[in-house]
């Protein structure tokens, strides 16, 4: 397969996953803002979202350094093309990547990408007062689910499928780490103490925003605790959004590529290192190191992994 085609598929995977994360982050913010008061002395929840999304510098340039408002964050994270990770940028980039490799997509996959784009253009023309944030978030998640479904249902499970999934799971690991990090920004000092009502509500909001609220109950019983939730989102092998699950999936697709091409790439070694660390570290280690420090390290290692996939396959080594 053409290296450029592989690269485009990889980025379609990343952008579609990222658009979903942005919707989920916005949902976290929305739910948290419905609480009467958040922990005193801590940062505003909307601001924390922008920080967690990794785009606070751009946001500050555009909206100034005053209080962060919901409407501005919505604009920035959903509609703003100046923000490379906004939902509109993600969906347009995914479609542009898809358009560049139309021959590598099934018609159903293209249809899903293109319909999302056309509907988005409609949304842009709709007055903002008629668009409620929860609906926008639901719409975005639906597009991403639709595309993933069409991919699973119609695409050949060949190397192209692997490159798409590598993009999607590398992105997902990154994104779960970022969402978990939002918690850090809001309730910095209370990681290892069980908080009051507000605190618990915020932790459970994380689960809801990742659509794994019920899954958590199935795995851990009904009592939330920050420890359990952190464990669930980092170390649970069965939770489809945990860091370990994402890394395992990346491993699966790297192994499939190694088998198909008859040789291992340097990316496999990078991944092995991450997997070893995830399986030997315990929650106590994480809390001791500091959740934020742990997540930052994961995000960096994950980025290195993405780079090594690109170096091995996507740039067309001669």
């Amino acid at each position: 397969m053409l290296s450029r085609t592989a690269e485009n598929l990889f980025w379609i995977g990343r952008y579609m996953e990222r658009s979903e994360t942005m919707a989920r982050l916005l949902e976290v913010g929305y739910r948290m803002s419905l609480m009467p008061s958040t922990g005193a002395g801590n940062r505003n929840e909307w601001e924390s979202l922008v920080v967690a999304a990794g785009s606070s510098a751009g946001f500050r340039d555009k909206y100034g350094s005053g209080e962060v408002k919901q409407r501005d964050v919505e604009s920035w994270m959903f509609f703003d093309r100046d923000n490379g990770s906004s939902i509109i940028s993600c969906l347009e980039n995914a479609r542009q990547n898809g358009r560049a490799v139309r021959t590598a997509l099934t018609t159903s996959m293209w249809d899903a990408l293109n319909s999302a784009y056309l509907e988005l253009r409609e949304l842009e023309r709709t007055p903002r007062s008629e668009l409620a944030l929860p609906e926008l978030c639901d719409w975005t998640k639906r597009q991403s689910a639709l595309f993933r479904g069409e991919t699973e249902g119609t695409h050949l499970q060949n190397d192209g499928y692997d490159f798409y999934n590598l993009g999607a799971y590398i992105e997902r690991g990154d994104n779960t780490a970022r969402i978990l990090d939002v918690k850090y920004y809001i309730l910095l000092p209370t990681t290892d103490t069980v908080g009051g009502g507000v605190d618990t509500y915020q932790w459970s909001t994380l689960l809801r925003s990742l659509s794994v609220f019920r899954s958590f109950h199935w795995s851990y019983g009904s009592e939330y605790s920050p420890r359990k939730i952190t464990d669930f989102l980092i170390f649970n092998r069965a939770c489809p959004r945990s860091l370990l699950f994402s890394a395992n999936r990346v491993g699966l697709h790297l192994d499939r590529l190694s088998a198909a091409y008859g040789s291992e790439s340097p990316a496999c070694r990078n991944l092995q290192k991450m997997l070893t660390e995830l399986s030997t570290t315990t929650l106590d280690h994480v809390i001791e190191e500091g959740l934020h420090e742990f997540l930052t390290r994961f995000i960096n290692d994950n980025a290195t992994l993405g780079q090594s996939v690109a170096d091995s396959y996507l740039f067309g080594v001669q």
């Binding site: 053409l2 290296s3 490799v101 139309r102 293109n114 067309g316």
Partner: protein
């Protein structure tokens, strides 16, 4: 559609169908068709304007119909012309017999912008230069066709021939059950075989063909991806290809893979920055060296454009007599060369009745349609001709064929032309259909999509 008051037999079934279908159903179908085009993403880009960069070409649901005997004549004529044009190309890059024989002026060929010195003396496989020839035609009466222009480089629009048919079949299955319409869906298959048939002699095993596109921002990108998809070959851009030793390779996730035939949809001047425009980002450095040494085939061959120049057009009937020893089956439109003082005088005196075109222009831009222009437009254009007469040619306006077309007021006649696609490899093929373009403005003769033209499905009825 009508011959006097009588309906031409080819259109009888269609006429019945229109009469039996309520107008609101037709309108509904028209909306459905547009939604389908948009969803599939069959769009073209318009350069130099803001707003929506991906536009739909207006699709007209009334097909254009040919009877089989009529089509057979047209087919022979198009194939004849395609063979003659290829013979001409081979000749002008070798001994130049037609010039020595005094039939075509040397300057017109050798000083032509499209003439490539870089390919003189090269023998492309099967001696073919133009592998896909698009001939733009108009019908003026029963069995009577005039050629407006030849396209020997990379004629576009064939995806519309295929997609228009697809959409028509989806929307009006009942029409296809009652009329026997020759299928066109074999075209991609024929194109793939044509490309494979011109693979270089050095090829080992099955030839690997690719379609070289300038990329997704090009106005015909949809067509590039569509054709690559239908043929099952890779759609590549310049950055995907590189030259190593005597061959061209594409970059793949498993390392380099050799390429034997390049169906290129980029202009000559962008193919190889080492040979032509050094600022080209679209081409492949060193490609021309590989081509010259017979390591890769390029379709159409660099330099093929010299055959479809508007000033060379005038000599195509002579080419047919000279190379094939046959009488031309399709007519040329009487053409006045403003470079010739007598012709120029005639043109300036009769501007009101003529269509004037720029010799190197395309896309329907910069032309003057005398009968439909104001006195001021005509006089301004006359000044341009006087300033640089060699850049213009003029033709009489023909009694162009019209075809029933859906417009706001209902069904009305509109002017149409036709571009059939002739494939030239070891064999010559013509798909039974083509791209019918229609001028949607009443009375207009300009069918180009960039100038408000639309497209129709083209039917050849089996006997």
């Amino acid at each position: 559609m009508y011959d006097g008051d009588a309906i031409r037999p080819a259109y009888e079934k269609l006429d019945q169908w229109v009469k039996n279908t309520p107008p609101e159903v037709l309108l509904q179908k028209k909306k459905e068709a547009e939604a389908l085009f948009r969803r599939i993403g069959i769009t073209f880009a318009v350069y130099g304007e803001g707003g929506d960069t991906e536009r739909l070409i207006p699709f007209d649901m009334m097909p254009r119909v040919f009877t089989e005997p009529e089509w057979r004549k047209l087919e022979r004529g198009v194939k004849q012309r395609a063979r003659a044009l290829n013979a001409f190309l081979h000749d002008v890059y070798h001994r130049g017999e037609i010039i020595r024989a005094g039939i075509i002026p040397a300057d017109l060929v050798y000083r032509n912008e499209a003439y490539e010195n870089a390919v003189v003396g090269i023998d492309p496989p099967a001696g073919v230069y133009s592998h896909i020839v698009g001939i733009d035609l108009v019908r003026t009466g029963p069995g009577e066709f005039f050629v407006l222009e030849d396209n020997c480089r990379t004629p576009s629009g064939v995806s519309y021939m295929l997609e228009n048919r697809e959409i028509m079949m989806r929307m009006f299955p009942e029409l296809f059950r009652t009329a026997r319409i020759a299928p066109v869906d074999n075209y991609p298959n024929l194109l793939r075989r044509t490309l494979a048939s011109v693979a270089p002699r050095k090829t080992e095993g099955d030839p690997v063909s690719v379609l070289l596109s300038p990329g997704s921002f090009n106005s015909a990108y949809y067509e590039h991806s569509f054709l690559a998809d239908q043929m099952g070959i890779e759609l590549v851009e310049g950055q995907d290809l590189f030259v190593k030793g005597d061959f061209v390779y594409m970059r793949t996730t498993q390392g380099p893979q050799k390429v034997d035939v390049i169906y290129r949809r980029i202009d000559d001047s962008f193919i190889d920055p080492l040979c032509f425009r050094p600022d080209s980002m679209l081409g492949v450095p060193g490609l021309m060296n590989v081509y010259r040494s017979g390591g890769v085939a390029i379709a159409s061959a660099p330099g093929a454009g010299v055959a479809d120049d508007k000033a060379v057009y005038i000599y195509v009937p002579e080419m047919i007599r000279f190379y094939l020893g046959e009488q031309p089956i399709l007519n040329n439109v009487q053409t006045y060369k403003c470079a010739d003082p007598d012709d120029c005088k005639y043109v300036l005196e009769n501007l009101k009745d003529l269509v004037v075109k720029e010799v190197h222009g395309s896309g329907g831009y910069g032309m003057l349609v005398g009968p439909r222009s104001t006195a001021e437009e005509v006089s301004n254009y006359a000044d341009r001709i006087r300033a640089k007469p060699e850049e213009f040619i003029a033709q009489p306006t023909l009694a162009l064929s019209t075809c029933p077309t859906f417009v706001d007021e209902g069904i009305a006649p509109r002017h149409v032309d036709l571009r059939p696609y002739c494939l030239v490899g070891k064999e010559v093929h013509l798909a039974p259909g083509g791209l019918t373009r229609v001028a949607l403005t009443e009375g207009s003769l300009v069918v180009n999509s960039s100038q408000g033209g639309g497209v129709k499905d083209t039917w050849v009825l089996a006997d």
